[in-house]
Subunit: 439 residues, 2 copies
């Protein structure tokens, strides 16, 4: 891209992901000054950190000061320790104190998500005084003037909340202590962002106050931050379900080696687990040598177990993430999935039976004992699919009970588990049905 | 549950999912009148519809009138045609007209998500007049008073937006036409909710106006509705990725038969696809009969292809859903995934080699030609994993190009595709390496 070329905001946003860091800076510098503001504010914290790092040191102060303290803290989280110190030094003193306080929180906790700039009111203020005060605050750097928090003077405790709308709807000489809502839903500083998101979504809140262990209010988390959290948590779950570690950055911004590292760990672990299938197959080597026809259906049977297990585990993990089911529901799920697995297994078993009988009629593929072979495959499918469904639905419970993230019970993990047991089921059914004929 | 037992809101919410419809009604009726309001408003549209259906007809009017028009429309969407008519009749005339208009939109389009109750201002109003007008609106049933829309008198076109905060920060005799922001981001009525969510998230908006083809404003979509949309869209994608149709209702509220139906379709389709493995195996039946050792590694090899394909497809589908990559990026992805696949394949190939050599040293499992067997397995793994990774990453592009939802390229779908080709790769590598020894 030539440095004298100018781009519109939309054009730059379109190609952004594909640009190298210095191309990004060139594109950014080419924006009109008025557009550049909005563009910068719309970037992710990571991209903001990167572009701050790229630009000449003299320009940095302007851009870092554009950010609200919670956003500035996010940018600092994304910077190197050296860069962090430098950027912190560029902030005005008041903001620096706030940002430094925010940096003490984990990025994915309520404290790391909150803005410390909320409007504080006193319980003895009148509605009219409060409106006038908020009017002055409208020009200040507060996160929102639409929700204001009533804090007592002595203990600094959160006493209640008033929305702007409540104030407008109340007589102007009434005291806030009379009009505020007192049953405020609050969250502790260290609550996980996923739990905060769930509370906000369930109660349709626009903002939720964050309080410390002494009941003092530290900040607010607003619903627009929650949209990002929900997206991000879903992305992590989806990537784990796909059988890898969650990426820290968007796909195209993740380096090849970093990405291979995120994938190789689980892939190798699954591979080592899957080696058990070679051992299982070895122990049936004699049967396979005598009836090679048995080997033909191995992929079909174990993949059916894997697919049904993948369905079950996905359903359960998502329902857990949404809070629809809890650990104590496990027995209800076992019964449901047992029934579902048996029905699904019977459907696939029937399909398998039809397939073998039809191929036999058409091509005489499976020899004189094809009825027994068909019965072996069909019965094994019922067993393997039922077992896959039960294992897939229970694995998230087991993993969560052990204290890990249930989303680690990925589809490939379940498939690997079920493959080995699927082989055992199949060859045992074969030994019973084919004894005296093929085996 | 005894009818005279009373529950707190939290207790009822806790056990809600596990209750039958009539138990829910009993629980709901046992709440204190003040709590019941909040509880009812916090339910999903579906649960609201169900409980309205359960309660005596005489009580329905009270509860349906509690809802804002967009929420009432959602409840009606969830009701039977007969129930819909009855509930519509219970609304006051003004709301009935609004709700009937909303029902014309698809549930998952901007029109189906919006509230028609927004604040309209005229461009010639002064800031002071606008504030006084908004103050009166605070007690009316409008969705928000914090954003107001400036509409011209003649054409009813949307001219600009003012936030309450802007009004407070502006001189009181200024006209709205001078203080409003004119570059308003709007969405058409039929825009898909996922696209609306993306716009709101990208621009950190609190509300977005919905306009018809003539530029007339029809309603607003607020960010709190978007949290639900984002959750719901992620759930659909996750369930599709797990290899099934997305459920319409939460897991525990979905009947057993409905759930089996959602799962059986894809499971059977995958099973029929997977039958090709039996055909592929048949064509190598002779090789297997001569070298049974080959059969032992079939599950290991095909599952490695499936797992690596599942990783790749999951990554790409999520990146597409988040708008991080577009169709035209396909060639960049091919090159990246080719490199990643080759590296991952080499890692697994090495592990496989080590495993076979080690087992041979320990148990003499694999006969005199174990070095060639090990080489066959290792080379096949490199090929199968590279191929699985490429197929898994390209399948979402193909599906999207054909006009379908890329999330249908589920992990099991990719695994099935890769299983057949994995077998072909494996047996061809074997024929080259083992010719003259085992084969």
């Amino acid at each position: 891209m030539a440095p004298d070329e100018t781009l519109t905001v939309d054009e730059l946003r379109e190609i952004w992901a594909a640009l190298t860091p210095d191309e990004r800076l060139v594109g950014f510098e080419s924006l009109h000054r008025g557009d550049a503001d909005d563009f910068f504010l719309g970037l992710s914290a990571e991209d903001q950190a990167q572009i701050l790092h790229e630009m000449p040191a003299t320009e940095r102060r302007l851009w870092i000061r554009l950010l609200a303290p919670d956003d500035a803290a996010d940018v600092l989280q994304e910077s190197s320790p050296v860069g962090r110190k430098e950027l912190l030094g560029l902030l005005d003193e008041h903001t620096r104190t706030e940002v430094a306080a925010l940096l003490a929180y984990a990025e994915d906790a309520a404290g790391g998500l909150m803005s410390p700039r909320f409007v504080r009111l006193r319980p003895e203020m009148t509605v009219d005084e409060a409106i006038r005060y908020l009017r002055r605050q409208a020009q200040e750097h507060v996160e929102t003037i639409y929700y204001a928090y009533v804090i007592d003077t002595v203990e600094q405790h959160l006493r209640g909340v008033v929305s702007f709308r409540d104030l407008f709807a109340s007589p102007s000489d009434r005291r806030l202590s009379e009009v505020m809502r007192e049953d405020v839903i609050t969250v502790p500083e260290d609550m996980d962002q996923e739990a905060v998101a769930k509370l906000i979504a369930r109660h349709d809140l626009n903002a939720i106050p964050v309080v410390d262990a002494e009941g003092r209010m530290k900040g607010i988390v607003t619903v627009d931050d929650i949209v990002d959290v929900v997206q991000q948590e879903a992305t992590e779950d989806i990537q784990k379900l796909g059988g890898m570690e969650a990426l820290d950055t968007p796909y195209l911004q993740t380096g090849l080696l970093a990405m291979v590292k995120k994938r190789a760990g689980w892939l190798s672990a699954l591979f080592i687990g899957e080696m058990l299938t070679a051992s299982a197959m070895s122990s049936y080597e004699e049967e396979i040598a005598r009836a090679v026809v048995l080997a033909l259906f191995v992929p079909l049977i174990i993949s059916s177990g894997g697919n049904s297990g993948s369905q079950a585990t996905t359903l359960i993990i998502r329902a857990m993430a949404l809070g629809e089911i809890a650990l104590r529901d496990w027995w209800r799920i076992v019964r449901r999935e047992l029934a579902a697995g048996f029905m699904l297994g019977s459907i696939l078993g029937t399909l398998g039976l039809v397939r073998i009988v039809a191929w036999q009629a058409l091509f005489h593929t499976y020899g004189p004992h094809y009825v027994r072979v068909a019965a072996t495959v069909a019965l094994s499918l019922v067993g393997v699919v039922t077992w896959g469904t039960i294992s897939g639905s229970m694995l998230p419970f087991v993993i969560r009970r052990l204290g890990f993230d249930p989303a680690s019970a990925s589809a490939p993990f379940v498939a690997t588990l079920v493959d080995v047991s699927g082989l055992v089921i199949y060859f045992n059914v074969a030994q019973v049905i084919l004894r005296g004929t093929l085996l």
